[in-house]
Symmetry: none
Subunit: 200 residues, 4 copies
DNA sequence: AATGAATGAGATTTCATTCAT
DNA sequence: TATGAATGAAATCTCATTCAT
């Protein structure tokens, strides 16, 4: 019988359940205030069972965050690969990021809460890597726009970071004010500001 | 002897020492991961002494954050009161915020770390209030610009939030990448992006 | 395997071990002076383990006291249900109470120490309830004696309280003077005093 | 100038203020739960000042209790010295004790709370001594009654202890049930029970 | 003598991690 | 593999005592 894969599939499914519970609790409470008790309960496993899947609380956190970052990255890459003009691509990117943040508020929170000065250095390093990758990817889009003459020749890296900050900050603001994150008005506003500024 | 004022002055000086130590540790570790042991050691007091100045860890945190927020707010108000044209005022605002963040990296970190979903509700409420005040103040500047016809009639509130996110995000990014926060290039870039966007 | 009951039985046994240790320490030191360290050591568990069985020190104390009070109450009820003449029942009651106090010196001490002005209001209330119940029960016996004409028609409630004070006070006195609590002489003396007074 | 005595008198007055505050707080909270902060505040002194009058918290407690016990003892002695027949003297004794307990509820509570198993051995010893003295004194009265043929020849020591328990227990019961401690009915009841028992 | 800020030992409580079943 | 009871280190907070003023 070839049921090894099934077993392995089941194991992965369980691991995903744990990661999901972890994401929810870590996002709500932060790395330190979250307890394995709560995560275990949410995942419907005994506390000890988590240690069959992750080496420690820190490992669980790191794994969860890594997974989310990869998913986010892949999503961004997909958008960047779309056959669109630079300005349209910016709009699509803004909309997509807002959508992702709306569908995964946990990730949105984690991004704010745990980015700066992670005590766990390894996690911090990984996070930094992902941000650099993202910046590099978006920079490409900006450079394309410059080449095509539709974007002014400003610093592409700074521009990428600014775009991310604009969208992420907007999503956080909506979240805290109990407003819709993926609001078309907001997307239009952000895109407009990014492309044209506020000058008359 | 009229040494009551001196005693009181000394007490306030000690309180400031504690608040400073608290700010440093809370900024680095976050509310939960920070320990009173570390704060006490940094303030060069015994652990118990802190309780002569603050009722609890939470109270210490709240007091510290409140003080920083007030200082920040006053700083912003000063800039907004300067007799400058809207565009110049934006530039001045960006420069000032970057300067403040550079001089008080702890505050910069705290702003990121503790803004979302503070478990301590009271602190969260206060923080929200300060953000609303700031948004209102900056909105005023934006409205002035619109009246004068130098700013396009976009949503002033969204515009204010965006400006804050742009600058704060930039500062965080610089901090994490070990770059100078209050970099004239960066200030110029941010101002330019905000006013004119990136379109050619 | 039907070992759920066994597990549950073991858990209850452990709980009883903790309650016993708690009783001993609380009786000796009182609620406040007793430490969880000492209780845990006596129960041969780690400090933290106690929190798997009780929510807090106060909860442990309350649970322990409640259990003891219930046991005491049931014991008194048994005696009152015996088919004896009132005077004989008084004698039996005195003997039984002295025996219980001798076998459970901890309870005897607790009764003195923690009766008055419990800071923990809930515990105090419960204790009062048990005392009222006991008084009611013994009052019944006194009323029976009055009906049968063997007891003079004095206030049954005051009489019940007096009997309890007489026996409890005697036991405390014996305890403090390192004398036998359940001494037949003492029992006879107390019964005689209660029934006939000291007049010649 | 002979103002040493005045100074000394003032010092004693202050000491009394502290002892009074101590009595109130210790009676309410018990030895352990009481804090010097609360006592100092009630005495209207700074905490450190107490150490100019007493060596330690334990010393303060012991001094306070000793003083109360001496006052109580002297009161009892006065009654026992009255030129009354034994039965009348019993009645007077009961009334006096109830009165004292009513006027000094703190002392009444202290007697219950701290009698058994004082962790502070020295205090416990002293308390025991006073109880023995009291028992001896009351025993004398009982013996007189026996000699005069008005009391049956029962154990005078046990009889003394019983009388004390009866009255003290009654006072505690009244206190806990928010009833008047020095109630003439109660005094009559207790005297009657002690002298004649409850038999018809 | 009086003060009260400072101390630090010690108390309660939490929770990541282990391990016998 | 899954469990959850047990552990004990570490955190917050209290308070008797000291001491410089």
């Amino acid at each position: 019988m070839d049921n090894k894969p099934r077993k392995e599939r089941e194991r992965q499914a369980k691991k995903q359940d744990i990661l999901k519970a972890a994401r929810e609790v870590f996002a709500q409470k932060g790395l330190h205030a979250a307890t394995l008790d709560e995560i275990a309960e949410k995942a419907e496993f005994a506390k000890g069972t988590l240690y069959g899947y992750f080496q420690s609380k820190d490992d669980l956190f790191a794994s969860m965050l890594e997974e989310e970052l990869v998913k986010f990255e892949q999503c961004i890459i997909q958008v960047l690969n779309l056959p669109l003009a630079p300005a349209a691509k910016v709009e699509k990117l803004v909309k997509t990021m807002l959508l992702v943040f709306e569908q995964n508020e946990d990730f949105l929170r984690l991004l704010s809460k745990e980015r700066p000065g992670m005590s766990n250095i390894q996690v911090g390093e990984k996070m930094m890597d992902h941000f650099k990758t993202l910046t590099r990817l978006v920079s490409g889009m900006v450079k394309d726009g410059i080449k095509e003459g539709v974007f002014a020749a400003k610093d592409p890296v700074r521009t990428s970071v600014a775009l991310f900050n604009l969208v992420h900050g907007s999503a956080m603001s909506s979240l805290l004010n109990h407003k819709k994150i993926n609001d078309p008005e907001e997307a239009k506003f952000l895109t407009g500001l990014f492309l044209n500024g506020i000058k008359a």
